[in-house]
């Protein structure tokens, strides 16, 4: 606990120095929220939307409440569900992160939608994304760089067959 406190203090001090005067929010990683394997699907020219995928793990119960990115005009959190062989997509206000349990944003489930892309995304590009979390009444932020993978990139851990739960 002491270590975490010192780390957040250091982070806060750093943020304060770096962004003096700006409103600063605590870093999610210091509150035990981990973001792994963030990637975004490449687009073809004139395609204005694509999905971002990742794995989120929070030590304490928390919630993803928003996402921002300079790469797109709008960013939304969506959930996909398959019902009677029909794919349905809905915007959701957030994603609950149960304590210590990894939550996958992957094809066949949740994803972050980038809408109104400012430029096509090419394989190998990095897309900066800022994730906003809520944990114990506090607002936290984490900036990650999502790696652009090819259009044919499979769902995390396998292809179409990995989506059996739907």
């Amino acid at each position: 606990m002491k270590k975490i406190a010192i780390k957040s203090l250091a982070a806060a001090a750093f943020a304060f120095c770096a962004l003096a005067g700006a409103n600063h929010v605590a870093l999610a990683q210091d509150a035990g929220i981990k973001v792994d394997d963030a990637w975004v699907r490449a687009t073809v020219p004139s395609q204005h939307a694509t999905g971002v995928f990742m794995r989120l793990t929070s030590n304490a119960a928390g919630r993803l409440v928003g996402v921002e990115s300079q790469a797109a005009k709008h960013v939304e959190i969506h959930e996909m569900a398959m019902q009677d062989n029909v794919m349905k997509m809905r915007q959701v206000p957030g994603i609950d992160l149960p304590a210590g349990q990894p939550v996958e944003l992957k094809p066949g489930g949740y994803h972050v939608m980038l809408l109104g892309l400012k430029a096509p995304l090419n394989v190998g590009d990095k897309v900066p994304v800022t994730l906003k979390f809520e944990q114990g009444g506090k607002l936290l932020e984490q900036r990650v760089e999502a790696e652009v993978r090819g259009l044919t990139a499979p769902a995390h851990g396998g292809g179409a067959a990995a989506n059996h739960k739907h």
Binding site: V86, G116, G159, A160
Partner: protein, 207 residues
Amino acid sequence: MHSPLPRARFGATHSHAPDPRRRLLLSSIALLALTGCGPDAPKLHGMDLSGMPSGDFQLQDTDGRERKLADYAGQPVMLFFGFTQCPDICPTALTRAVEIKTLLGADASKLRVLFITVDPERDTPEILRAYTQAFDPDFVGLRGNAEQTRAAAQSFKVFYQKVATGSSYTMDHTALTYVIDANGKLRIALRHQQSAQECVDDLRTVL
């Protein structure tokens, strides 16, 4: 479907001396049931649609040519309805189509892959061409006006609808891949959950 009933009756009479006629009747039913889905009828991972009326469409390819299903006669067709802004299902289905062609090896050249957009408003011919060809240069993108799109979807009993999101809209749509044989007859619907290998198993019954 009727098996639970005779079995219950059989169970009820079990303590008595078995009636030979009833026994014969029961084994004939069992035999019939066996041959009905026996080795003669190949078991599919997908849905068997043979016997269903074949669908059709009047659309344009990305070079602006008028296209109907009969234009692709002579080779089996895999047909999918989707939209290019789809983050998830459509790229997964098209990626699987690429894997299927790889698994089919030499037979892949027999197969035609068609992608019909249910979002012609945003999917211009240019976007559609770039999108389908990013998966495989031989994949064909097809689009029509709102009415032609609706007619094509209805013809294959495909459901789609626009759904508003905060800043834009997305499309709900049927995620089945339809297999049409070389004679233009609707044969199979491949489910989204099927692996590429399971699709190939099903396709082999048509190729």
